[in-house]
Symmetry: C2
Subunit: 385 residues, 2 copies
C-alpha cells in the first residue's frame, strides 16, 4: 500500500475504528459514506443494506455531490436484484469476491452482466464492493467516479475491501445493540403497563377512582418536566422521571390492604374508618419494601399525603423533609381527587376552582415551588386528564 498517501489511509482506518462505538446503523452508514467520498475523492457513494424485518435490501443512504439521492428507506431491493444475486451465488465458492468494476462488466457478455450493468448505471457507480458476514451478504457499497476521472488503483480497491469488512462487523455490532436496546425498552414498557393494569384493578374496587392512577402519573410527569425546564430539580435527584413514573403508577397500591367496606362506603368515612384509610401509604410502601432498587419510588408512595406545613400523614413531615417525588405526587393526586367526586369528600370541583385551591394551599398543603410548577403547566394547558 506504499502508493497511497498515508493520511488518507490513516483517516479511513480511524473512521473504521470509531464505527465500533456507533450503535445506530443509519448513523454508521452515513459516516462511513461521507468519509469514503471525502478521502477517496469520488463524486458520490451509496449503499444498499440488508434489512432483517423486510428480509430484503434497502437503499440506505447516498452521499456526495452527484449520484442518486435516495430518500431513506425508499427503495426496497429484492434478493433477486442482479448484483445481490451475483455476490450471493458466487460467495460459497470461496472468498476473493472483493469488488466488481464497471469496466469489467462492460467487457463481459451474457444477460446477467447486462442486468448488472444497468444497476451500475442506476447507481451511477464505477465500482461495487460487497460486505459479507460469513456467507451472508450484508451490504453492497457503490462508489462513484473519482473526481480526477482516473481508475481506482488495486491498492485503493484492496483497502476498500478491508474497510468493507470492518463496516460489516460494525453493522453486526450495531444490530446486536439495537436488539438489546429494543428488548430493554420493551421490558420497561411491559413493567409500566403491568403496574398500571394492577393499579387499575385496585381502582376497580373503588368506583369513584376510575382512571385516577393514570391521570396522577400524567400530571406528575408534566410537573417534573416543568421543574426541569426552570432548573429546579436538584442535581442529586437522579432518574427523577423514571422513579416518578413508577411511583405515581403505584402510589395507591396500598389500597389493596384497605377493607372493602371502607373503600366502597357510600358516604363520608367516620373517624375510625378514616384512620384505617390513612394506612394505605404505609401499606403500599411495605408491599414494595423488599425491592431495594425501588428505594426512591417507595418514598413517593409512603409520603404522598404529607403536607408542606407538617399537617399531613403518616409522619407529619415538614417542608424539605418531604421527598421531592412525594411533593410532586401530592399536588397531582390532590388536583385529581378534587376534580373527580369521591364518597368521602365534597362533590367534584371544576378544574379552574381546583387550580385556585392549589394556589391557596401554597405554603400550607403544598411546597410553593411545586404548586407553581403545577399551576404554570395548568395555564399552558398541559394538565389534561
Amino acid at each position: 500500500m506504499e502508493n497511497m498517501p498515508l493520511d488518507y489511509k490513516k483517516e479511513l482506518e480511524k473512521a473504521a475504528k470509531q464505527m465500533i462505538l456507533i450503535h445506530r446503523v443509519d448513523t454508521l452508514v452515513k459516516i462511513i459514506l461521507r468519509t469514503i467520498v471525502r478521502m477517496l475523492k469520488i463524486e458520490h457513494a451509496s449503499l444498499i443494506l440488508y434489512d432483517k424485518i423486510q428480509d430484503a435490501y434497502v437503499a440506505n443512504a447516498s452521499r456526495g455531490k452527484s449520484g442518486l439521492k435516495i430518500p431513506k428507506g425508499f427503495s426496497k431491493i429484492s434478493k433477486d436484484n442482479p448484483i445481490i444475486r451475483y455476490f450471493t451465488d458466487r460467495r460459497p465458492q470461496g472468498p476473493g469476491l472483493d469488488y466488481l468494476l464497471f469496466d469489467q462488466i462492460e467487457c463481459s457478455t451474457g444477460p446477467l452482466y447486462e442486468e448488472i450493468k444497468n444497476q451500475f448505471l442506476l447507481y451511477n457507480a464505477k465500482a461495487c464492493i460487497p460486505g459479507f458476514f460469513r456467507n451472508k451478504l450484508i451490504f453492497a457499497l457503490f462508489l462513484g467516479e473519482k473526481l480526477n476521472r482516473e481508475d481506482f488503483t488495486p491498492e485503493e480497491l484492496g483497502f476498500m475491501s478491508v474497510l468493507s469488512s470492518d463496516t460489516v462487523m460494525a453493522v453486526q455490532n450495531a444490530w446486536l445493540f439495537q436488539d438489546l436496546n429494543e428488548q430493554l425498552q420493551k421490558n420497561t414498557r411491559l413493567f409500566l403497563q403491568t403496574a398500571l393494569a394492577l393499579s387499575s384493578a385496585i381502582e376497580a374496587k373503588d368506583p369513584y377512582t376510575q382512571g385516577h392512577t393514570e391521570r396522577v402519573a400524567n400530571y406528575s410527569l408534566v410537573v417534573a418536566n416543568e421543574l426541569k425546564v426552570i432548573g429546579r430539580i436538584p442535581k442529586n435527584e437522579k432518574n427523577l422521571l423514571e422513579n416518578l413514573r413508577i411511583s405515581s403508577l403505584l402510589h395507591d397500591i396500598g389500597k389493596i390492604g384497605i377493607p372493602e367496606r371502607i373503600l366502597n362506603k357510600n358516604g363520608l368515612l367516620n373517624q375510625e374508618e378514616l384512620k384505617e384509610m390513612k394506612k394505605h401509604p404505609l401499606i403500599g410502601a411495605n408491599i414494595l419494601s423488599m425491592i431495594d432498587e425501588f428505594h426512591v419510588p417507595i418514598l413517593g408512595i409512603k409520603y404522598h399525603h404529607e403536607h408542606h406545613d407538617g399537617s399531613g400523614y403518616p409522619e407529619g413531615l415538614k417542608g424539605e423533609k418531604i421527598p421531592l417525588i412525594a411533593q410532586i405526587i401530592a399536588v397531582a393526586d390532590t388536583f385529581d381527587a378534587m376534580t373527580t367526586s369521591r364518597p368521602y369528600r365534597h362533590a367534584s370541583l371544576s378544574k379552574e376552582e381546583a387550580a385556585r385551591l392549589i394556589e391557596s394551599e401554597k405554603n400550607k398543603q403544598f411546597n410553593p415551588i411545586i404548586a407553581d410548577a403545577f399551576l404554570n403547566a395548568y395555564k399552558k394547558g398541559k394538565i389534561q386528564g
Copy 2:
C-alpha cells in the same frame, strides 16, 4: 510494513476484527493475548486492565509458556503504579506514546525509571504497549521476549500499537454491552419482584395462602425444566420459561376482584360464593388483557383451572386444547393447594399423599405427561416449598 510476513499481519487483523463481536471483556482479553503470543512468537503476554468498579487496574490474564501466571482478578494495581503513572502523566502532551521498551528503560536514569524497570522485571516483559481511549489509559499490554531472542522490529511495534487501539475500542464496546445487559437483567428482576410483591399483597387478604404464589412459581419452573430435559416442550413454545415465570407469579391476580367476604370466609363456600370465586381466572386475564406481549402468560392465568378431561373452568377445555403453560400451573397450583390448608377445602395433606393424588388424577384432572414430569421432579426432591 513490507518486512512482515503477510499471514501474520492478516491473522492479527482478523483477530482484531472479530473482537468486536465478543462482548465479554475477559474472553476478549484472553483471545487477543493468545493470538499475540502465537503470532509474534513471544514467550508470553499479559495485560493489566482498568476496572470501573474498583477505579484501579487489575492484572487480567497472562498467556504463554513462561511469565507470571496471575490468578484472574488477583492482583489489583493502583493508579500510582509507575507504569500507569508514566503513561497517564505523559498522555496529555499528545500522542506518540505507542510503546515502552525494556532496553530504553535500562538506559534511562532517575527514580521513576528504576521503578518502571522493576515492573518490567515483575511482568518479565521486554515491551509495554498502552491502550488509550481518549486520554484515559484503558490497559497496558506486556510482551515477553521473542522466542528467537531478537528485538522487536519497529514494524512489529507499530503494528502492535494499531492492534492495541483496536482492542481499546473492542473493550469499550464490550463494556457498553455489559452495562446494557446488566440493565436488562435488573429490569427483568425488578419486574418479577414487583409482580411477586403485588401477588403477595393479594395473598395477604387471604391468610390461608401465604407464600402460595412463590411456591407455585417455583414448582412450575421445576416442571418446565423437567419437560425440557425429556424433550417434551414443543418447538413452537418459545420463551416458555420466561412466560411461565410471569404467568405463575400472576396466576391468582384476579382474586383482586373477588369480594373479601368470599376470600376471607371461614368455612366452605356455598354454591353462589363458589361461582363468584371461580371468576378469578377470567378477572386476572382481563386485568392484563391490554398488554399484547402477555398473550401467552395470560393463557396461563385464564386456564389454570381447566381439567384434562374437560371438567374444569372457565371454558371446560379438554386435553391439548388447554395451553401447555396452564397445564403446568394447574399441577403446581393443585399440589400447593392440597399441601396447605384452606377454609373452602379439606385439611391439608402430606406431600406424599398429595403426590399420590396427582398420580391418581392423571388423564382426569391432569395431562399425564405434565403430571409425570411433576412426579419425577418430586421423586428427585426438587419440589420444595
